[in-house]
Structures are given as structure tokens and as C-alpha cells.
């Protein structure tokens, strides 16, 4: 919290993303581009990793995203938001990669159901190793469930739920009306619930179900 607040204060004295991108576009400013990479590497890496369901490939695609960003720097409109432009570039690369995978499947891990014995052994046991294992297993199930969504629904879920973009911002990134984004979100949540309900029905009690009850109580009260 303190470090992030400090980072926000220091960012007051640095260029905004739009200023940095303008410098990259007009002067090929390497320093400004390095600042943009430093600021956005994490979010783009998470987006790519979640869209592909593969963290390693997500890192590769992050590098490709910034390479394409530099290649397309002349296409950036100074009146638009830099983040919208960057999200769009990254999402297009993710779509290309997913299309390539569909044509030539090369990752059998995506379709495997991870068993508890397949999880890597913990060399350093934390305070509650069984809880860690359960959380990992549930995370893997959620990853597979998200991967089963179509690209249109998956991108909306990841941008809204994990990257915390507003529905209005997602609509700008995807170039669709805000109402369509919300409808896709609702449909994605419905499909996710159906998939996860089926996946978790053998693993009761389920942590996220108990959390959902708590969330519901919070909302209602």
C-alpha cells in the first residue's frame, strides 16, 4: 500500500502514458518507451497469460505486444487513450495466438484435468499446506473454466474482473456498445457458473461457494 502510494506520488513528476507515447511516436524516444514498458508490462503479461491460460506463452506474447506497439507507433492517435490502444494491440495478438492454436494444437495441457497428484511437490511447506494445495487446485479448475469460454466472453471477464477496467473502458477497447459488454459479462458468468458447478460437484465443501454465500449476504445486507 505504501509502496504503491509512493509510486503514485512519484508518477506525478513523470510523463503520463499519453505524453510518453507521443514522444515515442514523434521522436522514437527510447526512454519514454522504456517507461511505458515498465508501467504496463505487468498488466499486459497478466492479460496475455489469462487469455491463453499459459503464463510462459503470456510472457512471450507480452514482448510481442510491445514490439508491435513500437512498430505501430505511427498509428497511435494522440486524442485517444494510450491504455485503450495498448489493450487492443495485446488482445489482437492473443486472438491471433488462439487462432493459431486452433489450427495447430500444441498444448495438450489445456485440455487435461489436473489431478491432485499432478501438482508439483512443495519443497517449502507453508503454515497450511493442504489449504495451499486446495487453492492451487481450485485456481487450476477456474483457469480451465475460463479457457473454455469463447474469446469474446473471456476477454470481457478478464478485463473487468482481473484487470478492473470499467465497462465503459472495455467497450472502448473492444469497439462495441457498453450494453453489449454487460450482456457478454452476464452470459460469461452464467457459463462459468455452469462449468464450475459441474467441476466442483465432486469436491465439496468448496471454498468459492462459501465465499459466494458471504458475498451474497454482503450485497443483500
Amino acid at each position: 500500500m505504501n509502496s504503491s502510494f509512493f509510486a503514485s506520488i512519484t508518477s506525478l513528476f513523470s510523463m503520463t502514458d499519453e505524453q510518453a507515447m507521443w514522444r515515442v511516436r514523434m521522436h522514437d524516444d527510447a526512454h519514454a518507451f522504456a517507461q511505458l514498458v515498465g508501467r504496463w508490462e505487468g498488466p499486459i503479461q497478466r492479460l496475455c497469460a489469462r487469455m491463453l491460460g499459459d503464463e510462459q506463452r503470456g510472457e512471450d506474447l507480452t514482448q510481442d505486444t510491445f514490439a508491435r506497439l513500437f512498430a505501430k507507433r505511427k498509428e497511435y492517435q494522440t486524442t485517444g487513450r494510450f491504455s485503450t490502444f495498448l489493450w487492443r494491440v495485446a488482445l489482437n495478438l492473443c486472438y491471433d495466438e488462439l487462432r493459431r492454436r486452433r489450427r495447430r494444437p500444441e498444448s495438450p495441457l489445456d485440455d487435461q484435468i489436473l489431478e491432485i497428484d499432478d501438482l508439483p511437490a512443495l519443497t517449502v511447506m507453508e503454515s497450511a499446506p493442504d489449504a495451499v494445495l486446495v487453492q492451487r487446485e481450485q485456481g487450476e479448475i477456474v483457469r480451465q473454466a475460463v479457457s473454455r469460454l469463447s474469446e469474446a466472453y473471456r476477454s470481457v471477464v478478464i478485463l473487468r474482473h482481473y484487470e478492473n477496467l470499467k465497462f465503459r473502458e472495455i467497450a472502448e477497447v473492444l469497439g462495441i456498445p457498453e450494453g453489449t459488454v454487460k450482456s457478454r459479462m452476464a452470459e460469461a458468468l452464467t457459463q462459468l457458473h455452469r462449468i464450475l458447478d459441474h467441476a466442483f460437484e465432486d469436491d465439496k465443501p468448496v471454498l468459492c461457494k462459501t465465499q459466494s454465500k458471504r458475498t451474497e449476504e454482503t450485497l443483500v445486507l
Binding site: S8, I9, V157, A186, D197, C208, T215, E216
Partner: protein, 266 residues
């Protein structure tokens, strides 16, 4: 399966259920404050809507199980940055005003130390109050307005800078083009001169070779003519010698009358 895009249904009864988009905004905290209260009140009493939201909330809770890393730090306080920038700008302006006032004002050397100290304290307090008031005013304003002002200012600055940059780049391009044209013309003239020089040199060489060849041919012709003449005279001499010898042989040999048998044998 029921399609949520079509769940914006209206109960034929007295209760009007909010639509899908409203509930999704509500779930993610994007509902305005007034609507949020009414939606919460509706949810308390409406079983249908609670049943609609329950699977979405369960899926939401499950999504939190898939963690990759910490959220991006610089986005957490992004909403406060414009206000903080304006506050800092106000602080700088006030500080500058205070410093200029102190420098350009009457000299305090002549004042009593107590009076000077009280004035300094009063000014400090006043500046502090003004800064606090400006800070509160900036924070009290809607962040959207501050954000909009900042964007408008930034956009106008960017337009001015881009216009200046375009004008400067155009002038520089014209200058470079003129320089390029001059250089191209000079190089072309130099190439032309070089070509003419080489052509003249080749022509002279060709003429010199032509003259040399002609001399050689004339020499060959003269020598050949001389040889022909000498050969002709030698042939004439040889013919005269042969004729004289034939005559002398005829006259010196005794006459042998040719017999009939010899003739026949020959």
C-alpha cells in the same frame, strides 16, 4: 439455458425487475449511488432477482481463486492524480507568490524582530490556510471536471506543439530539399565534365591509334611494293637468263636429225 441477454424481463405484475445490465453494473459497483439503494432494496424483497444474481455471484467468487500476481500498483491511485497535480500546481504558485512578495516587499531589516516574527507567522498561517482551502476546493470538485480540464489543456498544448513541430519539420524539409537539389546539380555537372574529359581522352587515343595504324599499313604497302618490284626484276632477269641459255644450248649442240623411230618412241 436461459440467455441473460434476454433476461430484461418485466413482470406482468406490479413489480418491475431491473434488467441484466443494471444487475451486472450493480455486481461490479458501477451503479450510481441513488440506483444502488433502490436495487439493494429490490434485492431484499425479490426472490426472482436473488435467484438470478446467485449464480453470477458464485462465479465471481470462484474467479478470485485464479491468482497470477499482485495488481498493478500505479492504477490504484490513478483517480487522484489529476487532483494532486492541480494541488501541487497551486502550492507552487502560492510559494512563488510568497517568495516574490518577500523579495519585492519592504525590507524587514528595519522592523523590530518581534514584529517581523509575527508577520512571518501570520503570512505562514495565511499561506497554509490558502493551501488548505485550495486543496479542499480541488478535492471537493468532481474529479471528472478536473480530469476534463486537464485533458482539454493537455490536448490544446499537444495541438500547439504538434503544429509547431509540423511547421519546423516542413521548413527543415524544404531546407534539406534545396540542399539536396544543389548538391545533385553540382554532382551532375561534375559528372558531365568528367564524362566529357574521358570522351575527349578516348577520342584522342583513338585518333592516335588510327594514325599509328595508318603509318604501319603504309610502311607495309611500301615494303610490299618494293618486294614486288624486286621480284618482278628478278623474274625478268631469270627469264632473260633462261632464254639466253636456251639459245646457246640450241646453237652449241650438234644437229641430230630426228629419226622416225625416235619420234615414234617419243
Amino acid at each position: 439455458m436461459q440467455n441473460p441477454e434476454q433476461t430484461d424481463r418485466r413482470d406482468p405484475g406490479a413489480v418491475n425487475h431491473p434488467g441484466t445490465e443494471e444487475w451486472i453494473s450493480y455486481l461490479y459497483g458501477e451503479t450510481p449511488r441513488a440506483s444502488k439503494a433502490s436495487l439493494t432494496a429490490h434485492l431484499k424483497t425479490c426472490v426472482t432477482c436473488r435467484n438470478t444474481l446467485a449464480p453470477w455471484q458464485a462465479a465471481q467468487a470462484c474467479l478470485a481463486q485464479w491468482q497470477l500476481g499482485a495488481p498493478c500498483a500505479h492504477r490504484r491511485f490513478a483517480w487522484a492524480l489529476p487532483a494532486l497535480k492541480w494541488a501541487l500546481a497551486a502550492l507552487v504558485v502560492l510559494g512563488l507568490g510568497y517568495a516574490i512578495g518577500r523579495v519585492s516587499g519592504m525590507r524587514t531589516d528595519a522592523l523590530e524582530p518581534a514584529l517581523r516574527a509575527s508577520l512571518v507567522d501570520a503570512v505562514k498561517q495565511q499561506v497554509r490556510d490558502e493551501i488548505r482551502a485550495d486543496w479542499q476546493a480541488v478535492l471537493a470538485n468532481s474529479p471528472d471536471a478536473v480530469n476534463t480540464d486537464f485533458r482539454r489543456q493537455l490536448r490544446s498544448d499537444l495541438d500547439q506543439w504538434s503544429a509547431r513541430t509540423v511547421a519546423a519539420s516542413r521548413a527543415e524539409s524544404q531546407h534539406l530539399l534545396l540542399g539536396f537539389a544543389d548538391t545533385y546539380s553540382a554532382n551532375r555537372q561534375q559528372d558531365h565534365q568528367t564524362f566529357l574529359t574521358l570522351f575527349d581522352r578516348a577520342n584522342q587515343k583513338r585518333q592516335a591509334e588510327y594514325v599509328s595504324l595508318r603509318r604501319a599499313l603504309e610502311t607495309v604497302a611500301v615494303v610490299a611494293d618494293d618486294k614486288f618490284q624486286r621480284t618482278d626484276s628478278e623474274l625478268g632477269q631469270l627469264a632473260s637468263y633462261a632464254e639466253a641459255r636456251f639459245v646457246s644450248d640450241k646453237t652449241s649442240e650438234p644437229f641430230e636429225p630426228a629419226t622416225q623411230s625416235n619420234r615414234k618412241g617419243n
